[in-house]
């Protein structure tokens, strides 16, 4: 789209397509500000608008137009920040068409994608992988070594860079090349969930550490309740603790914030009365 002369004045048209450099600038801003100014009304929209601004200014040099568009982009947005990069790139691709309804379309796409992609990002990027590599890094640290941590960070950086690369592809090809694979992504989430569940089963044994301190003496024989129960099922009290907290979280009005205080109070009471050690 070149600058067309209409009447006497040249209408500012802006660039036809965003260059790779423009996209890099947006990405750099977005990774710095994905959840900046987080609030309970619009959640992550502030970082989004600030990040897209340099590119939008190139597409739409007219400030009044931009101001109107940002009214829509400032509305509620909340997704996984890594997937947020891809959604932002998809929105810019739509804005590049300069369709009169581009912003409406982009915001609709954004709203449609933010939930499913947040689910994927939360479960794989934020939880399953960090739990697996975090456990390995923790045990390595307890032995005085940073090897596990280096490994965890390597996984982190690698995945982070994959999302960075993908962002450019989304601008060029549209988000459809990801949404078309929605079934594969669902399969990936399922498969990774299995990995997570296996590791949680293992961590219940190795990381949770709850023991009963109750013992009694019959004749010369001292019986320890903890050993007795572990003889029936290894890590017996760990399993009970997991089950109790799992069910406790289902209680109406319970939140992780409240649960951490409850666990602390219960633990201190159990320790003080000599039931646990």
């Amino acid at each position: 789209m070149s600058n067309e002369t209409t009447g006497t004045q040249t209408v500012q048209q802006g660039v036809e397509r965003l260059s790779k450099k423009d996209l890099t600038q947006v990405l750099l801003r977005y990774v710095m500000s994905a959840q900046i100014c987080f609030n309970y009304e619009t959640m992550q929209s502030a970082g989004w608008v600030w990040s897209m601004h340099p590119a939008m200014k190139k597409l739409y040099p007219d400030d009044q137009v931009l101001s109107e568009k940002y009214k829509s982009y400032y509305k509620f947005f909340n997704s996984h920040p890594w997937f947020g990069r891809l959604i932002l790139m998809a929105a810019l691709a739509i804005e590049t068409t300069r369709d009169p309804d581009a912003t409406q379309t982009a915001v609709d796409v954004r709203t449609g994608l933010m939930g499913p992609l947040a689910g994927l990002g939360d479960s794989i990027v934020w939880v399953l992988l960090p739990t697996v590599v975090g456990a390995i890094a923790s045990y390595s640290a307890l032995e005085g070594s940073l090897v596990g941590w280096v490994m965890a960070i390597a996984v982190n950086i690698l995945l982070w860079l994959v999302f960075w690369r993908l962002s450019y592809t989304v601008y060029d090809k549209g988000i459809s090349f990801i949404t078309e694979k929605s079934q594969s992504l669902a399969h990936l989430t399922d498969a990774c969930a299995i990995l997570g569940i296996i590791v949680i089963g293992a961590l219940t044994v190795s990381t949770v550490d709850v023991h009963l301190a109750i013992s009694w003496t019959v004749g010369d024989l001292t019986q320890n309740l903890d050993e007795l129960l572990n003889g029936i099922l290894p890590s017996f009290m760990n399993l009970i603790t997991m089950l109790a907290i799992y069910l406790g979280l289902d209680i109406k009005g319970m939140s992780p914030g409240k649960m951490v205080w409850i666990v602390m109070i219960v633990a201190i009471a159990l320790g003080a009365f000599g039931i646990c050690a």
Binding site: V31, M32, A34, I36, C37, N39, Y40, S45, A46, V49, W50, H53, D63, P81, V127, T131, G134, A137, S138, Y139, A141, G144, L146, W149, I153, V155, N156, I157, H187, D190, A191, I194, L195, G196, I197, I198, I200, G201, A202, L203, T204, S206, V208, D209, P234, S235, I245, Y246, L249, P256, G257, V260, W261, V263, M264, I268, L270, G271, A272, A277
Partner: protein, 264 residues
């Protein structure tokens, strides 16, 4: 107990890590270990830093702010715990007890700080929006970033206060810590990792795949394998299941396409 250099570096580090935790996330995995190590280095005892970092990282596993929720802030807890354990000249198990006594309550209070920080965001977003309405792009950027003063301040200031005005009080508290309370906190340290796992399980398809818990449990308890070994076995199963699911869903398409399985 702390010199000026340590107070300044740890406070700035707390602010930086708070920003990083929400935004950049490039050193996000096992970050509590990294935080423990860094604080250990600044305080001059890397080993204690790793011990506290490793212990508190285990408590943090499975916790993430899903959908804008607030969870215990073990990053903050680890910073407070590590600097006080080392600052009081302790090492080994004694240092860990002190770190837990200081760090776990700080981590729990982190939930409230996070909520306050996110509530403060409303003030800044409305200023930024008003600037945008007036095409004042500089003001928009300024108000957007100004929100970090509140968010980072809410996390970093308590650490700075604890290390300066509060250090005497914390030291007195730790030194006069009743035995029953330290026993209780040790019990809590053993129980708290279960909370992250229990939250995580609520987000996983337990009804569909819950029986895999038994596999992990058996491999860790009866077979006595390490977490890395079990994670590798899990990864193999993960790949197998993924391919199987893909194959099943590809079946009808394959019939139409005449058995071309190789297309990407």
């Amino acid at each position: 107990m702390f010199n000026v250099f340590q107070i300044v570096v740890i406070t700035l580090f707390t602010a930086l890590m708070t920003w990083h935790k929400y935004n950049l996330q490039i050193l996000y995995y096992a970050q509590v270990v990294g935080i423990g190590a860094f604080c250990g280095l600044v305080m001059g005892d890397l080993n204690t830093g790793l011990l506290v970092g490793g212990t508190m990282c285990l408590m943090s596993l499975g916790l993430a702010g899903y959908g804008g929720s607030s969870v215990p802030n073990y990053q903050l807890g680890c910073i407070a715990g590590t600097v006080f354990a080392i600052g009081m000249g302790q090492a080994g198990d004694e240092a860990l007890s002190t770190a837990l006594a200081v760090g776990v309550p700080v981590a729990a209070l982190g939930v409230q700080l996070d909520v306050l920080g996110k509530m403060s965001g409303s003030f800044f977003i409305h200023r930024a929006m008003a600037c945008s309405d007036n095409c004042d792009w500089k003001g928009m950027a300024t108000w957007t970033w100004a929100s970090q003063i509140a968010m980072l301040g809410l996390n970093a200031l308590p650490i700075a206060i604890l290390m300066t005005a509060g250090s005497g009080a914390v030291e007195m508290l730790v030194n006069n810590f009743p035995a029953w309370l330290s026993t209780g906190l040790n019990v809590a340290a053993g129980m708290l990792p279960a909370m992250g796992f229990a939250i995580l399980l609520h987000y996983l398809p337990i009804k569909k795949y819950g029986y895999f818990l038994i596999l992990g449990y058996v491999l860790a308890s009866y077979a006595g394998l390490s977490v890395l070994a079990i994670a590798l076995i899990g990864a193999v199963i993960c790949v197998y299941v993924f391919q199987d699911l893909e194959k099943d869903s590809a079946m009808p398409a394959v019939a139409v396409a005449g058995g071309d399985m190789e297309d990407e």
